[in-house]
């Protein structure tokens, strides 16, 4: 599914690499949570998977494609296979829940159909299905500004899911939400993961959530892998190593 080989990322103005020759792989159907202190390289790690973050060295292989070698068009095709949710949701303002969910299909349609908003019956069913699944069908026509944080993240999840992705990425999707709402969002993510054996890779700050929901935990520190294993095997020492 996902293979990192000696991946390094050095930002233009950064002295220390954000990722330091990282090698690991993720198999189909895993639910991976990435832990690490602020600045450990979690966001950088997630963003290299769909090519939002270019590499300095090494290569990332996703669904059989070397992300680094993909030209614009192929990269877009790959991105449409990879859903992503964000800490600050990144929804399109002034648009309804339904309209936002439809934008998840943008990677899979020619531009003129996107501009005119032409969707097949299947696509519309897919959108309705996921709005229902995240519990927002009653709010479908509501503008996203008028939703709570948890609801906004649900829109983000529905937008990623209508892509019909093989991989779902999350960059701290619950960091702006209260504990109860965070737990509900993780329940939903876990449910989606189980229903379709969806490979899921998510950054979290909350160790409790990671332990409760992940099938595998990856610990990053200064851009290096310091823990990789199941949540059950993770000891206090391992945690201390990740968070120092």
């Amino acid at each position: 599914m996902l293979r990192f080989k000696d991946v390094s990322v050095v930002y233009e103005d950064g002295e220390e690499p954000a990722l330091d020759s990282l090698s690991l792989s993720v198999e189909k159907g895993e639910f991976v949570c990435v832990l690490g202190r602020s600045g450990a390289g979690k966001s950088t790690f997630i963003r290299t998977i769909n090519g939002l973050q270019p590499l300095t060295a090494g290569n990332v292989n996703v669904l059989g494609y070397d992300v680094r070698l993909l030209a614009e068009k192929k990269l877009r095709a790959l991105r449409s296979e990879v859903g992503m949710i964000f800490q600050h949701f990144h929804l399109i303002p002034r648009m309804s829940v339904r309209q936002n969910v439809y934008t998840g299909r943008f990677g899979q349609k020619p531009p003129w159909k996107n501009f005119l908003g032409i969707y097949t019956a299947e696509e519309r069913k897919l959108a309705d299905y996921y709005m229902e699944e995240v519990g927002l069908l009653p709010y479908a026509e509501r503008r996203v500004e008028r939703l709570s944080g948890g609801q906004k993240q649900r829109v983000g999840i529905a937008r990623a899911m209508v892509q019909d992705p093989s991989i779902l990425l999350g960059d701290e999707p619950v960091a702006s939400l209260d504990p109860t709402t965070s737990d509900h969002i993780f329940q939903l993510l876990r449910q989606l993961h189980e229903e379709r054996n969806l490979t899921t890779v998510i950054n979290v700050h909350d160790v409790g959530l990671a332990k409760k929901y992940a099938s595998r935990i990856i610990g990053l520190k200064n851009g290096r892998l310091v823990y990789d294993g199941s949540p059950i095997d993770m000891s206090e020492n391992d945690l201390a190593e990740i968070y120092e």
């Binding site: 991105r79 992503m84 964000f86 399109i92 002034r94 943008f106």
Partner: protein
């Protein structure tokens, strides 16, 4: 003295010097102020009563003025939108086209409408079309720059989300940026429209048609009572546009 730093006194000094200099430059005189009474006398003697019979004709002229302002600014907006995406650092296709569009916009913006108007009145002849072109050119460049700045300061989050779903460059930019900046774009547009009404009056005075031209014709033929009617209509027009512009802007935001 906690609130005042030394710098403030220096600034105050500079401003005082500038005030004195510009009072001289503009030939400001206190004695002149006392002669303002003469103006009032002249107004009430020669401008009163206005020629009310001209109202229908002048209303027709004001439609021309409105048309110049609306058509000129709206077509300017239509051109400015795509230009602004080319002139914004985060959305331009290449550094080369970015600088080219930017400089073109600055170049056109630096020419006052009245100068465009004078040129077109000579090259295209008297009439509203000259004024229309002047207003179009100026507003396309002004709006292009303003909207480019809005594009540059827009939140990058939605753009990232559009990239991550695999949307094409243009689709992504359009959907991620336009909804964000739309209220500001409209409010800038209405402001430009209000300004364009006043400008098209001035352009009328140099032969650009409409109310401004009528006003100037009356003035040149010393028909002060007719001029009074034109002034009243102008005032009403400007007030109506200001008020409705305010209402519309409030509604959009």
């Amino acid at each position: 003295m906690v609130w005042f730093r030394k710098r403030i006194f220096i600034y105050a000094g500079i401003i005082a010097v500038l005030l004195v200099l510009s009072a001289r430059g503009s030939e400001f005189s206190l004695i002149g102020l006392f002669q303002l009474g003469n103006t009032w006398e002249m107004l009430s003697n020669r401008f009163w009563p206005p020629r009310w019979d001209l109202v229908p004709y002048l209303l027709q002229q004001s439609l021309i003025t409105l048309s110049i302002a609306f058509f000129g600014t709206f077509t300017a907006l239509l051109i400015a939108l795509p230009l602004s995406f080319m002139a914004a650092e985060n959305t331009s296709r290449s550094v080369g086209s970015f600088y080219m569009v930017r400089s073109l916009l600055s170049l056109f913006r630096s020419v006052p409408e009245i100068v465009f108007g004078l040129i077109f009145v000579v090259s295209l002849g008297l009439g509203p079309f000259a004024a229309l072109l002047a207003i179009f050119l100026h507003n396309a460049s002004v709006l292009g720059k303003l909207i480019a700045e809005l594009v540059e300061s827009s939140d990058k989050g939605p753009q990232e989300a559009m990239s991550s779903v695999g949307a094409g460059r243009r689709t992504g930019q359009l959907f991620a940026i336009l909804p964000q900046i739309w209220p500001n774009v409209l409010s800038q547009y209405f402001y430009r429209f209000e300004v364009a009404i006043r400008t098209s009056l001035v352009l009328g005075m140099i032969g650009g048609g409409g109310l401004g031209q009528s006003l100037m014709n009356y003035y040149n033929s010393l028909a002060y009572e007719s001029m009074a009617t034109a002034i009243i209509i102008i005032m009403v027009l400007v007030i109506i546009v200001d008020v409705s512009g305010g209402i519309v802007r409030k509604r959009v935001i």
